[in-house]
Every structure is written in structure tokens, then in C-alpha cells.
Amino acid sequence: MTKYPQEYKKIQEMVLGYIANTKLDPFPVVFEVVSSDEMSSIASYTGFPRRYPHWRFGMEYERNHNMNKYGFQQIYEMVINNNPAYAYLLEGSEISTIKTVMAHVYGHSDFFKNNYMFKNTNRNMLNKMGDNASIIRKIIDVHGLEKVESFIDSCLMIENLIDANYTFQPPKRNDKAPIFEEQETAQEIPRFKAKDYMQPFINPPEFLEAQKKRIDEAQKKEKEKVPGPEKNIMLFLLENAPLEPWEQKILAIIMEEAYYFLPQRQTKIMNEGWATYWHSKLMTEYLLRPENMLQKDELISYLDQHSKIIQQDRKNINPYRLGLDLFRYVEHCWNTGRHGKEYEECDNLERKQRWNTNEGKGLEKIFIVRSCYNDIMFIDEFFTPEFAAEQNYFMHIDDSSTDERFIFSRDFAVIKETMLNQLTNLGLPLIYIVDSNFKNRNELQLYHKWTGIPLRRDFAVTTLKSIARIWKRPVNIETVEIEKEKEKRIRIIADGEEVKRETGTSTQFI
């Protein structure tokens, strides 16, 4: 890593000087200057200098490296949610890029610190990741790479089976016995108090038999009781699966890291939007003023770069663009009073277009939004018909006959529904554990909540096998498949290497 140049220090002071006059409240940021290849490798580790050995980091590296080499994409910026935040600058960047990146990074850092979704994330993750890496390295030394890596892969296959609410719940008191454990403690049959010689009369055998039967039945009922659906499958397996100590450690680490990254996945649009909003504001209002320019062509190169960042994307949502536009839209609405009952119920279009109560609460509002929302709430509340029309959004689908994508609809309801669907549960199917003692055989039963789209079958089969490997007993999932345009309830059962598919009437091996 290269030394941190004096010039950059000056820029950082400039940026901080401006931030002091705003309500931004970021963690302190430590910047490091890295070469483009180092950037590729750090990005592959999602910004952390040390991760445990795993092929997928190498895969990411190859991708980043080639994208850069053949000129598709250069990563300029990378920041991690940590206190202090660590951020990376690309060696040899233009001055305007350094300014933009620094402003952007402080935006992210403010978001990490103040958005409620990040409230329970580990702010010392940099060291924690390093520790986790050491732990897994030691496990590999003892058990061998092949074995450990396979197990890591099994854990990664279920890394999305976590519960977004988990970190906000108060820790569960462990007063309930784990649901898979058999309660085989023999219970004493209650009997009336009597002297020994009176026993056969006061507690006759028929009476005791009846009592015993009653207790047995109660126990049986207790055992058959289906526990409430459990979404946190990773945690459930960690607490209840018969794992070796090393396996338990690895599963715990993968789960910890999954929860650490979860809020970032849930606030991608907001987080990027917020950082872009602030770099744009800082650059145009302050850092590009003539007295703050270090080079003549800064303005042009900034404009070039910024327009690339917020380029309209015809195929995917560009989170930088959507987030930025939405924050600006919210700011505008709250500056002019365009919200609330009176505005919404106004049906005079002309009056609505010129609506301005000079409320001036825009900035205040976006700070509230930055603290209390996540992507799905953000879109749900502020992605309005006016906004969608103004920003030219559309919904597109694949034409299966020509394999070409085409604009399917510009109808607001369709666009919004698609967008919310993509954000609900991060666009992933909802899977729950419904029974851990299925058919009284200690088998795990999962349930896929049907929302109209079937699971990808080959993936579901392998994932199920992975869970069976962790649970060490058969695992099945109840889901729906579409056959001849008809919905059909099926159950896929993974029993070791064997996988069966059961419909109401037939069973077949797959």
C-alpha cells in the first residue's frame, strides 16, 4: 500500500471542514491508498483485509481483475461499516475523483452510523473478520481443506435462511427445552396417599392404568405439537443440529457474517443514494469552488464521473440513481409542503403542480428518512406515480420466443409491484422450519410460503441435501410446482444422497 499523500490529507480536511457545518455525523474514516490490483483483491474480500480461505473470494478476484483489465469497470471506492470506518482510494486517481470518493465515503459512514438497521451490527468487524479467519485457518490445519471447504459451502448454501428481525429481538431465555429433544423422563403416576395395605383399595390397578394412559396421551400431544414456523433456519441448526465443535464454530461464523452484511443488502438503494446525494452536494456547493480547486480540469472530470455513476440503466435498477433521485424528491416535497392529506386529496392538477407552502423542512425530513427507513419502506412510501413518470421508469420482461427483453409496461402499479417484489425478503423465497420431529422420526420439515413463483428445482434439491448433511437426518420441504399451468403441492425429501419427490399420490426418485 502506498503512502497517504499530503495532498489527500488536505482534501480530507477540506471535506471534514464542510461536513462540520452539516448535520452529517459519520464515524471517523481511515483512508488507504491502494493499487488497482490491490483494490480488486480487497473488493473480493468485501473490503476486509483478511477473510478465511475460500474459493469464492478468488472467483470474485478474477472477475474484478478482468473487468478492470478489459476496461469495463474500475472500482474507485470501497468502505466498510466499522468504527473507525476503513476506506480505500485508488492510487493515481484524479484529484476530482479523490474528492468525490471522500465525500461519498463520509456519506456511507454517516449512514452506517445512524440508520437503525445497522444499530446492532458489530462496529469492530474489521478485527472480528480477522479473528474468524484465524479460527477457520486453524480448523483447516486440523481437519484438512477439502473437508472444511465442503462444510463452508454447505453453510453458504443456507446463508440466506436467516431472519431479518433476529438482531432486534431481545435474546431468548433458554427456559424451553430444544424442540427436537425427546422428553423421555419417566413421570411418576400420581396416586392417593394410603398406607401400604390399603393401596389395592384406594389406588386400584385399573385406576393407575387410567392415570398412566392420561399422562402418556398428554405427553404424546406435547410431542406432536408443531412449533411455530421458524424463519431463522441457520440459528435453529446451530442450536439444535448434532454438529461437531468445529462445524458449530464455522456455522456460527458464517451466520455472524451473514447478519453483519444483511442491513447493507436491505438498504442498498438508500445507502448509495445517500452517499451520492452528499458527494454531489459537497462537490457542487463547496469542493469545486475556484478557491478549492487544486487542478484546472476538476470540474469537467467530476461531471464526467458523476454522470457515469448515475447513468440511467435500461436493464436494472441503478441504486445510485434511484436513491439519489428519491432523496432529492423527498427533499423537494417537504420543502414545498407537497405531502399530507390536503395535498394528496387535492384534485386540481394545476394547483397541485404549483403547490408550495414554503414549508422548508426538506433537509430535516431526509435526515429522518436516513435514520428510520430501509429500502422497502423507502420505495413503498416515496416511489409515487409522479416520481415514476418523471423519472421514466418501466417494467420489462423476457420474450421467451425471441430471447429479447422488451418494455412490458409503463403502468405505475405494475412497476411498483415488481419493485416491491424484488425487495421483499431481498427477492428470495420465504422458507420456514415447521417441524423438527416430522413423523416422530426426528426429521426436519421445511415449508415454502407460496407466492406464485416456484423454487428453482435443482438448486432446491442440492440445498436440501446440504441441510440434511448438517441436520444428519432426512429433511423435506413442502412447496408448489407448476405442472401444465396447474399448481401442484409437492414435497421434496432429501435422505442422504437420495432425493425423492412426493405428490399426494405418487413418489419418485430424482
Binding site: M157, D313, R314, M395, H396, E404, M419, I453
Partner: protein, 370 residues
Amino acid sequence: MAGIIDSDYRRFREIVKGHVRKNLKQYIVNGELIGKEGKDYVRVPLPYINLPKFIYNDSENAGIGQGDGEEGDPIDGYGEEYGEEGGNQPGDIMYEADLSLEEIAEILGEKLELAELKPKSVDRILKEKDKYKSIRKTGPESLRHFKRTYQSALKRMISTGEYKPEKPIVIPVRQDKHYRSWVREPEPNAKALIIYGRDVSGSMDDERVDIVRNAIWCQDIWIRSQYKDRVHHAYLAHHSDAWEVDDREKFFSIYNSSGGTVISSIFNKMIELFDGPLARYNKELWNIYIFYYGDGENYESDNDKCISILQEKIIPSVNLFCYGHVTNASTNFQKKVMTLSNQSPNTRYAEISTNIQILDALKKFLGAKK
């Protein structure tokens, strides 16, 4: 490549190549990029492993985009990946950026070499090379040695008291200037002749031909990348008769013939290259390496003849004789060469019955002495 990620990257490549973790093989998706290198378009394979999870079957069907267009209009699906001019320039040739020479060299490992390479007599002092190794006080400005010049200027200014630490300006004058200069050094020059021989007789089936081609191709490309113009190549093929092929491409494209097999024919042809009055290469001046690939299914009475030619004429004259036996079936010829390889240090033998063994064979052939 940045150090720390190195081992993860190598691990990933191993998995992609199918050497380890074979159960992941089915999840490898062959992604690619169309990149541009100078004027040429190159296809950059970007394989990735799609680790299974519970996901929706057509999760990517409906998407959200932004921009102009009516309902029903196609959206330009390929994005910018094809480069701006892609499409309107007919006849662009696409190259595969699959394996670069460096990568092949890396795969084969740096330890490979043409063993026993010796500087041979006459050529030895003929070549001289200029090297910029010394410093002079005169010379062209373009060769000015920046550090030395300023060092001596600083020394001079300190000794004359001109230098002021609070205003550290160093101005070199003419006598401070130093220039890089060259010295002429003789460069030992070792030249090598590489002779490839392959059996193209009827017994060489698809699989065997494939192995021979792959092995020679890898070897050829590696030697060329390492030794560049210091090596000459000769390509020979045989069935019951042997001939030289003057072009590498042609050599590779020979499939097989229906003829019988007389291995001694190719050995005699090889000897003609470097021995006798009509030889193109003087064996005193050239390092000679022979790589012969075949299945060893020889005309029975020819075997002894082969061995005697090898022992008397070839092995004493060449630096190295290597035989790649491209089948796991044992033959008399193979057994005899094997025995020979145990006796003579510059004879090497390797069995290559599958493509995977090529690498090991090349390590044997091109590795340092056993």
C-alpha cells in the same frame, strides 16, 4: 496479483479445471466478457460457480429499467459490453484470451528448462551486447542520471556553503552532471535445436493423436516463450517411412495414416538433420533435443535396430532424448526405451495415457536432472 488473494484464486482455478471438489463442477457457469485489446476483440471467459440456494425459478424475469421507449419496444439487452463500434464493423476477428503464454508458463511451473543446455564452442563469443552499467561525466541529456547529478550538486553546494536548509533549492551546474553509459559485454550464446517426432501410423487412434497434439502444443509454446529466437524447430512424422514437415500448423493437422510402423525410419531421418555431410545443423555448435511421441507399436524386428541407433548415434550426440509413450499398453519398444532411460542420464521416458498426465510428462522432460 496481490499476494493475499493468491491462494483463493488458485483454489478457484483448480475447481474450475475440475481437479478438486468435483461435486461443484455442475454449478460452474461459463460467463464471458467481450473485451477489447488494442484493435482486436477478445473473448474473456469468466467462469463462475453459482452456489445453490433456495431461490425463485425465474427471479430475473421481470425487471425494472429507466429511459425512453414505448411499451413493446425491445431494450438493448447487451448493455455496453460489446464496445461502442461492435456490430457495424463486419468481419472482426475474435480472439480467445483464454490462456496467455504467461499462464501456460505458470502452469508448467518456472522450474522447467531445457536441461543440459551448454554454450557451444564457436557461437560463444560471437555475440556482444551493450549494457548500461556505468556512469560518465559527459553524454546526451536524455541519459542524464538524475539522482547522481543532484547528489553531487548537493554535495558541492553544502561544501561551498550555498545550501540553505530553510530554502532547500538544489541547482546542478555542468560539472555536477552525470550520465549513464554503457559497456560492451560478450554474451554467452547457447542455441538449441528442438526436434519433435510423432508416430502417425494406423495404430494411433483418436485419443492417442489427441494426447500427442496436446503435449507437443504445450511444450512447443512453452519453449518458444522461454527461449524465443535462440531455438530452432524441426517437425518429423512417420509411419513405415519418415518425412519432415516444414510447417508447424501442418504438423499439428496430420491426423493418422493406415500405414505400418517402422520407428527406426524417423530416427534415421532425425540423424540426417545434424549428422553427416548434408546436415543442416552442426552438432558441435547446437544443443540438440529430441522429443518423440508414439504408442511404441513397432514392427517387431525393428526394435533392436532402433535401440542400437539410439545408443550409437543419437544419445551420444544429443543433449536429451525423450520418449512420450501415449498409451498404457506395454510394448517391446517401450520396455527397451525404459531400460535405456535407466542407464543413460540424457534419456527420459514418460507414460502419457491420458491428457492429465501431460503435465507430469513435461515436468519429467523439461525438469532438472532426475
